[in-house]
Amino acid sequence: MWQRIGKEIRTMPWGVWVLAALMVFGLSVALYRLYAGLAVTTNLSDAYPWGLWIGFDLFVVAFSGGAFTLAAIVYIFQMHEFHPAVRPTVLTGLVGYGSVLVILVMDLGRWDRFYHFAIFPNINSALFEVSWCILLYTLVLISEFSPVVCQKFGWERLGCLMKKITLPLVIVGVTLSTLHQSSLGSLFVVMSERLHPLWYTPFIPVMFFVSSVAAGLAMVIGGATVSRWVFKRTLPRNLVAELGWFLPWVLGFYLIMKIGELLAAGELGLLVANDFYSTLFLAELAIGVVAPLVLFSFAAIRRSRNWALFGAILVLLGVFINRFAVTWWALKPIDGAFYFPSWQEIAIQVGVLSGAVLVYTLVGRYLPLFEGTVDVERAARIAQVLPAPQPASD
């Protein structure tokens, strides 16, 4: 037993050690932050009470939206061909939400009272709703992922039980996701005096929801290519292509909403103001919406693993810009105030994200994560035996 563990540790790829080192360093800084308070360890101030951490929370939750999107596609719309993508995506969501929960505790002034959201409810507060939904949804994700653990350790009866309640779990999970993806946007509805009008709209919850669907799909698509490099296991190419087919529709809907909202509010003029905000807004739309919309409209690009990854990165970059705009860049500046994260804020963020990637990598190594996916090496062997596929004659 110990010999085997020792051997596993010796044969671990060097990347794992880098991730572990970053995680340990980040978590040490995190402990120091809990001990020393926010003034010593962060550049947050009364002018910028939120910073890097909240921006990343919003971004990570957005791309973790792949888990509920895919669950809806596979279990509600019953497109079972996408089933092989479910396990890796649920795990992405799980480590994503886990990292968000850790960072949220870092951000609280009274982190020792984190449980107060459960005993002192304010139903008008978006943050109250977000806290509850994220907690409950993390439990749903753990349940959705539990069959993988049960399979590994041979707990068949528990695994079967969890599989039997999959459908209700998915319905509750998708509903909770809809609620908190949108209510993360609702956080900003009350900030009408603070957020730049290009981003401010009472419909921001709907926009957050739609962009989380796009970011979630992009994460699955891009993740398939990365997983091919890292784990030598990946989703079949036609599945990635079919998932990519959804993107232009989602992005198109998002684009119409973004422009339509400006039109309805009579704020189109702000687009040509040619200042920092108009440039940022146009960059967000061009990089994250229009460019991938065009790219994923081409079947050849959807089928190319590298191009699909490129397109997916564009979508994620767009959502990244959007989430950081509403928490940082597009907030009304206050005289003489400037914010840039401190090295401690960055170290903690990098540490927690490294921890998330590390957990994902280890689970991918030891648990049956990739059932039904393509084993790249096995597929290469099969390709040598079988004749090359003939082009369709029509």
Partner: protein, 258 residues
């Protein structure tokens, strides 16, 4: 119970900072923490001449406070008495109120290990005991009036009518963010004194409209998901799917899609 308010006539303010000192003493605040701040402003007036005036910042005690609407744990609350009070024992230090406040009033105890929010509560304990807030009691010129909100609004209007040349014809706080329980009169345009321009609707309204849609969205989503599930399932059953020979097909499929 009457809804109390404070009216500050800035034309009578001499900038002695007694209100700040009285507030700090009454609340026992550390030297670097103030719940009310006077700020001396110098600027160029409309006629191009040099001008100056006293600005002031403290919690506006909104009639419909956005901070109370936003607070995760309900630590902020508008009382029938007038003040917006803060329950430090509930606060988790999430700082959402600081973003929600249209006047950017709440500040945070950054240098504490376990930080909380700083905010004026109009001396709610003194009001309950039948006294004036500490700042109003300390003002030597009577620039800070404490009373009932409607009566103070009437007083403010009377002052403008009686001395129309002395005042800007505007009561700051009458309608800002849906109306506030701290009101200002001035002889200088408010924007020059650092008072933010704020819309006339409380941000709490839009927030609560959106948040109250939550149960509808949740119920609708669950119904829709269940409905879609049954519809798709039924359609698939009607299509009588037959199992097909997968063996070779799958191998080809795998080779092609690597």
């Amino acid at each position: 119970m009457t809804s109390h308010a404070i009216l500050i006539d800035l034309t009578q303010c001499v900038g002695c900072h007694f209100c700040e000192a009285a507030c700090q003493a009454n609340k026992g605040l550390p030297a670097d923490t103030q719940l009310v701040t006077l700020r001396f402003n110098e600027f160029t007036g409309e006629d191009g001449a040099f001008d100056q005036g006293m600005g002031r910042k403290q919690c506006m005690h909104c009639v419909k406070p956005a901070c109370a609407s936003a607070c995760t744990v309900g630590a902020l609350r508008k009382t029938a008495d007038g003040p917006v009070v803060y329950d430090a024992a509930r606060c988790i230090g999430c700082r959402y109120c600081m973003y929600a406040c249209p006047f950017q009033v709440p500040t945070f105890q950054w240098d504490r290990t376990l930080g909380l929010i700083n905010k004026c509560d109009m001396c709610a304990d003194r009001i309950a005991a039948g006294e004036q807030p500490a700042c109003a009691a300390a003002c030597p010129t009577g620039a800070i009036l404490f009373g009932e909100r409607d009566a103070l609004l009437e007083e403010a209007r009377q002052r403008i009518v009686k001395a129309p040349d002395r005042y800007v014809h505007y009561i700051y706080g009458e309608r800002e963010a849906g109306g506030t329980s701290v009101l200002y009169l001035s002889d200088t345009p408010f924007a020059e004194l650092g008072f933010p321009e704020v819309g006339y609707e409380s941000p709490a309204h839009a927030n609560e409209e959106v948040m109250h849609a939550t149960p509808t969205v949740a119920a609708g989503m669950m119904l829709a998901l269940t409905g879609i599930y049954w519809t798709v399932k039924r359609r698939n059953e009607l299509m009588h799917r037959h199992p097909v020979e997968f063996e070779v097909e799958e191998a080809e499929h795998v080779a092609e899609n690597r």
